[in-house]
Symmetry: C2
Subunit: 480 residues, 2 copies
């Protein structure tokens, strides 16, 4: 080991202890740090940069589709939260209450927003009057607070970052189309930016958002076979509008009630990336959101010309808009290889005296360690190709894992057998639509309903639980 060489931090193997493996990665890859604020965390620069990259991609997409960003207050007066009865029932038990401002007791308690439907509705009631004011396609990037009992970094924390889109439309058809459009935006984002396949579906009645007519979700499958809800899009009908007295005058001067939606994704997606792509060497980041896409490691960097050439490659890639880092620190190349594998950097470029002589460099992909020689004259183009290859490999591997762990079952016994023999995963099984059966499947197998996929299959004619005629196929699974 070189003088002053730091140790590459070891992480627990995921086969040994998946939960500890996850915790090791979030800490040791420098994504988060704990604080004295229970259930809240510091998102460190490397973790926050992943979120910034996600934000940029999503925000551009939202704006292309005509959405505008706004910023609502972080507080909601108790009386405002109480206006829509299903909504308040869903959220009141888990909000943080502000009761004092300075030394004075407030006349009315304020909750810290768990979500902002009520504030958007109050605002829409103020600014929507005519059909000319519709639609309003608003979004905000903020943090929200839900007083969870058990927390885990990114997956479930008392405060988390998200975006919440809130739209209001003249007709139900338009609002439904918006709800579906945003579900598709999320699914495309997960697949194209995060290399993470997802299943699009509708939540069952018992699993809907508080106040929604219908909730759509995308569900992803983690390494350990557990399901993770990666984004939701809600259609509200006119329930909120009625509760908040939002109306508009149509072209014929008739008073109408508008229809609404909301949709969101959160920093939970960072947890999803870790558990979809990570391995026993650490984090594996999709190139589209990796803070460092390429790390350049000089080999025998004390030899003449090596650092100069490494810097030249750095400048070439940087000016091409690639997020690149040159590590010319005194650590050994071997240490650096491990360090940037741990940090999930998609591509490593090695360059030493012999490579320079031969006019090439070596590109090593994460996680496959697939090696390519790149002619220096084709650097940018070939690096782009390799990054695309990393993305494609990651997506393929994740899809294979999802498919391998998806079981079609016709009875509760088959579900239990599949899960115990092959490990947790997605279970495809038919359902009669009865909440009692939904609960019973969960009680007897541990797998709850994740969603009713938009792409249906006919596994069987009968409900997996009661045997009565089935209404639809449901994806079941244990969930984060």
């Amino acid at each position: 080991m070189a003088k002053n060489e730091k140790l590459v931090e070891q992480i627990t193997s995921m086969d040994e202890d998946f939960a500890q493996w996850y915790t090791d990665i979030v800490k040791k890859a420098g994504l988060i740090e704990y604080t004295s604020v229970k259930g809240c965390m510091v998102i460190r620069p490397y973790g926050y940069a992943i979120w910034e990259n996600m934000q940029r991609i999503l925000d551009n997409r939202f704006k292309e589709l005509g959405h505008e960003n706004v910023c609502m207050p972080m507080f909601i007066p108790e009386s405002l939260l109480n206006k829509e009865k299903d909504h308040v029932r869903g959220f009141a038990p888990e909000v943080a209450w502000v009761t004092h401002g300075g030394n004075e007791k407030l006349e009315e308690r304020l909750c810290v927003r768990p979500t902002s439907e009520t504030l958007f509705c109050e605002h829409y009631a103020n600014i929507v009057h005519s059909y000319r004011d519709l639609p309003k396609l608003y979004n905000q990037w903020v943090s929200v607070v839900r007083w969870e009992k058990t927390t885990r970094p990114f997956l479930r924390s008392r405060e988390f970052l998200w975006q919440e889109g809130h739209t209001i439309h003249a007709t139900a058809e338009e609002a439904v189309a918006e709800t579906e459009q945003m579900l598709n935006v999320y699914a495309d984002f997960c697949e194209q930016a995060l290399a993470m396949p997802v299943i699009k579906g509708k939540k069952t009645e018992s699993d809907k958002f508080a106040g929604a007519v219908s909730t759509y979700a995308i569900e992803a499958l983690m390494h350990d076979g557990k399901a993770l809800q990666a984004g939701t899009s809600h259609y509200f009908g006119d329930g909120f509008a009625k509760a908040f007295g939002i109306t508009y005058t149509d072209q014929n001067n008739q008073i109408r009630i508008p229809h609404q939606t909301s949709w969101g994704v959160t920093t939970r997606l960072i947890g999803a990336i870790i558990m979809t792509h990570g391995d026993n060497n650490g984090l594996v980041l999709p190139p589209a959101v990796a803070p460092i896409q390429v790390v350049i490691v000089p080999v025998a960097q004390h030899k003449e010309g090596v650092l100069e050439k490494a810097r030249e490659l750095y400048e070439t890639l940087k000016s091409a808009g690639i997020r690149v880092k040159l590590d010319d620190s005194e650590q050994s190349p071997g240490w650096k290889y491990s360090e940037y594998e741990m940090k999930g950097v998609p591509l490593r470029i090695e360059i030493g005296p012999r490579d320079i002589e031969e006019g090439h460099c070596v590109a090593v992909e994460r996680p496959t360690r697939n090696k390519t020689f790149i002619q220096l004259s084709e650097l940018t183009e070939k690096v782009r190709e390799r990054l695309q290859a990393v993305h494609d490999d990651m997506y393929k591997k994740a899809l294979e894992n999802q498919q391998r762990r998806t079981y079609s079952c016709r009875s509760i016994d088959e579900i239990n057998k599949a899960l115990s023999e092959n490990g947790d995963g997605f279970v495809k099984a038919m359902w009669c639509g009865d909440e009692e059966c939904e609960d019973k499947v969960k009680a007897e197998t541990g797998a709850g309903s994740r969603c009713i996929p938009l792409e249906q299959e006919e596994i069987d004619g009968k409900c997996v639980c009661c045997g009565k005629p089935a209404k639809c196929m449901v994806i079941w699974g244990k969930a984060y």
Copy 2:
């Protein structure tokens, strides 16, 4: 008036009632809307887009200088806030307290962050151990809460958006250099992006940030002669580090105490833009942060070819990266002229049948209404020139206002005379350094100390108040 023509909303004249003029602009230009959350507001799309443009420019600059973004929790446990005695004295009287999570009373109250020094310090104590860990140059974009009694949109609200930079360094020299560097970044930003001249200076002891060794600020002069603090940069020395037990091991294996800074600007800058540049026709926005830099208004748009040509101009400017809007609504051109003047759009392009025949369009600048014919073949280049001209005019006008309203005074009588004869403004006058004199000047003239400018002048040898030998020149003024 055309059929369906809306009324352009009227605003109060600033000479009649400056405060009402301000309120009219923030509402009628669509920057904010009030809410049922006292002292908090909705920042509407047009207002938020100004903030996004500011964020992008500043964030790029911060990153070029090596800063990284992070995200701290929004809550601070009471015991953590109490750790640095000056700091807690300064902030505890004006924080919002969370006392309950769901239905349970918390063991320890949490305040909603009024600023995040305490959280950054706790984090630095966890992650800074060796000289190799230094410096840490962190920043975050969040909202903070201060329980103000009297509020005004953007200028003083209970919740506001800001960025807070927090850095930690091995030596005092480095930390002081960072404090000064960030003050310069803010001053350059105000001048180059907001067309707003500022005075850089140091706050007096009585006006320092709670817990700082020294506070630097930039001060701007509004239309009505009142001063507005537009940004601050604080040097903390090692006071916070000692209170939070942050130490590091230096190259010689000695335990050392690091030195810290913090610095921030807020959505207050939007208020500063309004009161520096606005006029009786509405908002005037600096091109660098205007959500719409150019609006295209077709004239006689029902005539053949007009809308097509207008769309062509729109596409040309858009693809050149200029933020452009084409208003092809049914409102009359006159209505549109007033509307986009109200919204402060820097440049209006008019294009009608005769212009098309002659191969040009008309560019009208805000606020001068200066008119130029632009050959369509030179559109992008000339539009860029006109936007630069708008910026230059705005800066020049603001600087002239500041200079005209800056008075050099040698006695309290002179101050009162200058202010009553010429209206409020910056007063340059000498000071002995005694807090009693500082208070007396304010009590007898209404003008408090704004800052001790970095660029000093020798107005007199004696304190403007007590006549004893002067230590420095101070800028005095009434403040927002």
